[in-house]
Assembly symmetry: C2
Homo-oligomer: 330 residues x 2
C-alpha cells in the first residue's frame, strides 16, 4: 500500500517482473478490495499470487516510532512478519522508508555482527551505476558503522551488478588522506586493515562519485541523503529546463520532435525507474525499498533486485564475511 | 596567479569588469613578466592598475599549513597583506581555497564576535540564485557557528542580490523539527531566538534548495562541499549527455544547430561563470573566491561581487549585527 500509486503500480510491477521471471511468486499485503480491482486487469496467473488482507496502511508522513506502536495491522508490518516467519523470502515496499527500517529492524533484527542496517541505492553515472550507502537510516555513524557499510555495500554491488571485486571509496571533501573528519580517517584505516584493502581506493569527492570513479561509496546517512537528493533535484531541474527549451522558443518548438527523439536514450538511461530498488542491508531478511514515486517498470526493477539478492544468499554471504573478519581479529 | 588560466583570465576579467564600472582600480599581484604580457593586449587603461611583483605562487595542491609557513612571498600572501594595510579594499583570488582561508584568517583576523569565517557561494535555481554556506572551510560546526553563518549569509544575500529580508533555512534530511543532528536543532533554536526569526523558514532538504525554496541555506562545510560538488557533477553529467545526444544519433545531428540554439538560454543561465564569486565571510577584510576554472567573464563576475560587498560595507554591517545581538543577550 506504500508509494504514490499503490496498490496499482505494485501489482502491475509484479506482473511485469513475472513476465521475465516465471519462478516468482507473490503475496500482496493490503486492502483486498483495491488489490482485487488491479489483479483482475494485470496479466498475472492466479496460481502465482495470494492476497493477504491488511486493514491498515502506514502513511508516508507517519513517524517511525508511531508506526512501530500503532501499525501492527498495517500492510508493511504484516508483510515484514511474513519474511520473519519464512512465508516469504523477502519484501519489496514503496512505502515510508523510516517506518520500513524501524519495523524491519524490530521484527527481523540485524545480522550477527552488524550494529546498524543501512539503506543502499544506485547513483547513475556515465558508465554504469554506483552503489551508495547509507542513504538516511543512520544520521550519525562511527568508524565501525562505516566499515560495516563498506562490507555490506560490497556484497550488494557484487550481487546486484555482477561485479567481481568492486572498488570501494569513502565520501569526503577531498581525496587526500588528511581530509575530513577523524571518523572517516579511522573508517579508512579499518578498511585498509581488512581483506577489502585491495578493493579500497580511499576518499572520493561527490563530483567524482557521479563520474563513476568507484563502484561502492560509503558515507553516513545524513551526507548520503543530502547527496542523493541533490543529484535528484539537479536532474529534475535540468529535465525541466530541457522541456522548457523545446516548448518555448520558436527554434525549440520547430525541432522538438526530433530533439526529444535524440534525447530519448539519455532520458531512458537517467530514468529513476531504471535504477530503482535499494536494499536495507544488515537485516536478518531481505527488505527492498522501491522509490515512492516509481511506476510499474520501476517496481518491477525493485522486484528484480529482491530476486537477485535472495537467490544469491546475500545475507549468508555478509554473515560469513563478518565471521571471517572476527576470526582474523581473534 | 591562482586558478587554471592565471594570470590571463584575471587580467581579462579585470578589463571586462572595468568596462562596466569605471571606478574600479586594480593591483595585480604575481609574476610581473607574465602580467605584462597580458595587460598589453587587455583593453585596460594604464592609470587604473598597478603591478606588484610576487616571486612565488601557491599551487592548487599545496596544503594550507605549508602555504602559511612558506608562502610569504606568494602573490596570495602579498595581496592579502595589501588588504590588511588598506592599500586595497578587497582581494579576488582564483587560487587554492584552503590556503586562501588560512592565510586570510592569519593575516586579516576574524570580525569581532565571529569565531569561524565561512565560504559562501551561489547555487542556481529555477527562479534566482540561492546563497549556500559553508562550502568547505569548517568541517565540523557547533550550533553557534551555524548561527553565525545564518547571520553572515543573510547579510551577503541582502547585499549581493539586493533582496530585502531574504529567507533563511538550515540544510537537513527532512523539514520536520525532529530531523537531523542535535547540533542542527540547537542552531535552529538560536536563530528563532534572534531577530532573524521572521526570516527563518526552518529545515530544508537539498532537493528543495535546488528548487529555490530559500534565499540563504546554512550548513557545515563538509555537507556544503559534498552538496555543491554533487550539483556541479550532476550538471556536468547532464551537459555531457546532451552534447552526446546531438552529436551521435542521426536525428540529433540533423537538428543539432537549432536544438543547441533552443538550449542556449538554459546553458547561459546555468553557466557557472555567471554565478561566480563566493565570499569568505567573517574576515576583517573582503576576500572573494573565484572558481579556479572560471573564464574572464566569470572572473569579472567575482570582481563585481567584491565591488558590491565593499561598497555596501558588508563587514561593518555584520559587526553591527553582532553588536546588537550581544546587546540583546546582555
Amino acid at each position: 500500500m506504500g508509494g504514490d500509486h499503490a496498490p496499482k503500480v505494485v501489482i502491475q510491477g509484479a506482473a511485469r517482473a513475472y513476465k521475465n521471471d516465471h519462478q516468482l511468486r507473490f503475496i500482496f499485503f493490503g486492502d483486498e478490495v483495491k488489490i482485487a480491482r488491479y489483479v483482475k486487469t494485470a496479466s498475472l496467473p492466479d496460481a502465482v499470487y495470494t492476497v493477504h488482507h491488511a486493514p491498515d496502511a502506514i502513511a508516508s508522513d507517519t513517524r517511525p516510532s508511531v508506526a512501530l506502536r500503532q501499525g501492527k495491522q498495517s500492510s508493511m508490518h504484516l508483510a515484514i512478519q511474513s519474511v520473519r516467519d519464512q512465508r516469504a523470502d523477502g519484501i519489496v515496499s514503496g512505502g515510508n522508508t523510516g517506518a520500513l527500517m524501524v519495523l524491519a529492524k524490530h521484527i527481523l533484527k540485524t545480522l550477527p555482527g552488524i550494529a546498524r542496517p543501512a539503506i543502499t541505492g544506485f547513483i547513475p553515472t556515465p558508465t554504469t551505476d554506483t552503489v551508495l550507502l547509507d542513504l538516511g537510516a543512520n544520521i550519525e555513524c562511527s568508524p565501525r558503522h562505516l566499515f560495516e557499510f563498506a562490507l555490506m555495500g560490497e556484497a550488494f554491488c557484487r550481487i546486484t551488478m555482477g561485479k567481481t571485486n568492486p572498488s570501494i571509496a569513502i565520501l569526503n571533501v577531498g581525496s587526500e588522506d588528511t581530509k575530513g573528519h577523524e571518523t572517516l580517517r579511522q573508517a579508512a584505516a579499518s578498511i585498509r586493515d581488512s581483506d577489502l584493502n585491495d578493493q579500497f581506493i580511499g576518499f572520493i569527492e561527490s563530483n567524482h562519485v557521479i563520474e563513476g570513479k568507484a563502484d561502492v561509496v560509503v558515507t553516513d546517512g545524513f551526507t548520503g541523503n543530502v547527496m542523493l537528493k541533490a543529484i535528484e533535484g539537479t536532474g529534475r531541474f535540468f529535465s525541466g529546463e530541457i522541456r522548457a527549451a523545446f516548448s518555448q522558443s520558436w527554434s525549440g518548438k520547430l525541432v522538438a520532435p526530433l530533439a526529444l527523439l535524440a534525447l530519448r536514450p539519455m532520458r531512458q538511461r537517467l530514468d529513476p525507474n531504471a535504477h530503482n530498488g535499494g536494499m536495507l542491508v544488515g537485516l536478518n531478511g531481505v527488505v527492498i525499498k522501491s522509490h515512492g514515486g516509481s511506476n510499474a517498470k520501476g517496481f518491477a526493477a525493485a522486484i528484480r533486485v529482491a530476486a537477485n539478492v535472495i537467490r544469491s544468499g546475500i545475507n549468508e554471504r555478509i554473515t560469513e564475511h563478518m565471521h571471517d573478519l572476527s576470526m582474523e581479529a581473534a
